[in-house]
């Protein structure tokens, strides 16, 4: 075990993977802040699940595991799922939560069927496709990590540039519209940011659990602060920490998927925040009232 550990630590690939997980976690926490405040947690989960069939379709097209192609497929089905949720809400009697439920299960079901079919019938090298479900950081090669790193940086930069506009468009969309701020466009940008982060994150964290990496960091950060810039920054740091620690564990213990490990770490952070958060933690509240 310790041999295994030191081999990983000394390998350049491992350092790359940890860097990627740090940046991915930071981007997730930062973007997740706005997702949480806009009350779109469930939609982001649907976007993640809807990415799975795209991975399968991307593979079937070229019959090889070409990451950019798989991610392009994931992007397209994720957007399709999001679009269908809006269509269902608009043209049926279903509520938002029911529409999201339908899309999550249908797309995830199709995704599993496709991956199983590929596993049994495809001739090309399909090793590692199943890892898109729960994530496997160890399966990433340098090129994958570079793609994730660069994309995460771009997504973070876009979020920073739009920070003030996101804030007003989420807090008071009518007032923002009155000022002439393009609220619908900003909603679209946020949607694309979510799809972007989900798609680059699924190989590492998996479609099932990436929404947790979006939502739990800002939820935890909220217990420590009432200021949006601090909340967003702290959320990014907590996301980065849980991303890196979870990846570390999963990479050093054979066959341990990364997604669940990351979620366990961020859940522990959430529990600590819930109890001891300096602004809204339970202990803090008890101390203040007594």
């Amino acid at each position: 075990m310790s041999d295994y550990f030191s081999i990983f630590l000394s390998s350049a690939n491992f350092r790359w993977v940890i860097t990627g997980s740090l940046l991915l976690g930071f981007a997730c926490g930062l973007i997740g802040t706005f997702v949480l405040l806009k009350k779109q947690s469930l939609i982001s989960d649907a976007m993640a699940h809807a990415a799975l069939p795209g991975v399968g379709i991307g593979f079937l097209f070229f019959n090889e595991k070409n990451l950019p192609v798989l991610l392009l497929g994931a992007t397209l089905t994720s957007l399709l799922g999001t679009y269908l949720i809006q269509v269902i809400i608009k043209h049926s009697k279903l509520d938002t939560d029911a529409a999201i439920g339908v899309i999550i299960s249908v797309f995830f079901g199709v995704g599993i069927v496709l991956l199983t079919f590929i596993q049994q019938h495809a001739t090309g090298n399909h090793a590692g496709l199943k890892e898109f479900i729960f994530g496997q950081a160890a399966s990433l090669v340098n090129r994958d990590v570079q793609l994730i790193t660069v994309s995460a940086i771009v997504l973070v930069l876009i979020t920073m540039v739009c920070f003030k506009e996101f804030k007003i468009a989420i807090f008071d969309p009518h007032f923002a519209k009155g000022l002439g701020i393009p609220v619908s466009l900003l909603n679209g940008v946020l949607m694309l940011l979510i799809v972007g982060i989900v798609v680059i994150g699924i190989q590492m964290v998996g479609v099932v659990l990436i929404a947790a990496l979006l939502i739990t960091p800002p939820l935890s950060a909220r217990y420590w602060t009432d200021e949006l810039p601090i909340m967003a920054g702290l959320s990014g740091v907590l996301g980065a920490l849980s991303g890196a620690i979870g990846t570390w564990f999963s990479a050093t213990i054979p066959n341990l998927p990364t997604g669940p490990m990351i979620v366990l770490v961020i859940s522990a952070i959430f529990l600590i925040s819930l109890l001891f958060g300096s602004k809204h933690g339970i202990v803090m509240k008890v101390v203040q009232t007594s």
Binding site: K164, K167, F171, D172, G178, G180, D226
Partner: protein, 246 residues
């Protein structure tokens, strides 16, 4: 001179017409109360005028030009219940939002903007609460933060949606004081209002509305029992009848 010319506005919601035939001109420097029963479309009207919600038809001219070119002249105070007061932000930040247009999109607030925000907070007696998280403010204080934000917009025409609802006496005074100050500066104010007792005291013009305009004009001539009966369709309470008549 007319600050606002509103022509033939019609609004549908889920294929049902909620507002139609709304045409009226608002003179510069006037205080207009928009009055009518619940569900009359008062808030819908100002949202449609400001293009915050889509309308079926109608045009809005602000000082003789399309609203789109004149958005910098418009100030808006939404209903307090329309925003999430648990949002992680403080009073000063909310007031700063009134400056976002002048700060410029995708740029950061400068020192000067923060000074102006603080002056606006001071004007409504809220400077001591500048860094207070907004959920920790009372209803009246939250309304005053919204007023300060409208002040920070430095607009020529102000729209206020039920600013008096659920506020304390101090806030009510602050709102009236501001409205009078705006009027004396030649600014135009339109207010959605539901308290019939105070209409004559607060506003020099009244729009009586129930899905379509019943009457619009100077308060003295328009705000009569007859017109109110027509607006409220006989649903006007005994108590309100008594207070209006006296």
């Amino acid at each position: 001179m007319n600050a606002l010319e509103i022509t033939n506005i019609k609004v549908n919601y889920h294929k049902q017409t909620v507002l139609k035939n709304v045409s009226f001109n608002v003179p510069e420097g006037s205080l207009t109360g928009i009055v009518g029963p619940n569900g009359a479309g008062k808030s819908t009207l100002i949202k449609a005028v400001l293009e915050l919600i889509p309308k079926r038809s109608g045009t809005v001219k602000v000082y003789d030009q399309a609203l789109r070119q004149q958005k910098h002249l418009i100030g808006y105070v939404p209903q307090r219940s329309e925003v999430d007061w648990d949002f992680p932000t403080n009073a000063r930040d909310v007031v700063l939002m009134g400056r976002y247009r002048k700060i410029g999109f995708f740029k950061r607030a400068k020192k000067r903007d923060i000074e102006i925000a603080d002056q606006c907070l001071d004007k409504v007696g809220m400077l001591d609460f500048a860094t207070r998280q907004i959920s920790q403010l009372s209803g009246g204080q939250q309304q005053r933060v919204f007023l300060a934000r409208a002040l920070a917009q430095d607009a020529s025409i102000y729209f206020m949606d039920e600013p008096f609802s659920g506020v304390d006496a101090a806030t009510e005074k602050a709102i009236i004081h501001l409205m009078k100050e705006w009027k004396s500066e030649g600014k135009t104010v339109l207010v959605v209002h539901h308290d019939l007792q105070t209409v004559e005291e607060y506003f020099d013009r009244v729009l009586l509305l129930n899905k379509e305009p019943i009457q619009y004009g100077e308060t003295q001539t328009v705000f009569t029992m007859d017109n109110l009966e027509r607006t409220y369709g006989g649903k006007i309470s005994f108590l309100e009848r008594a207070t209006v008549l006296t």
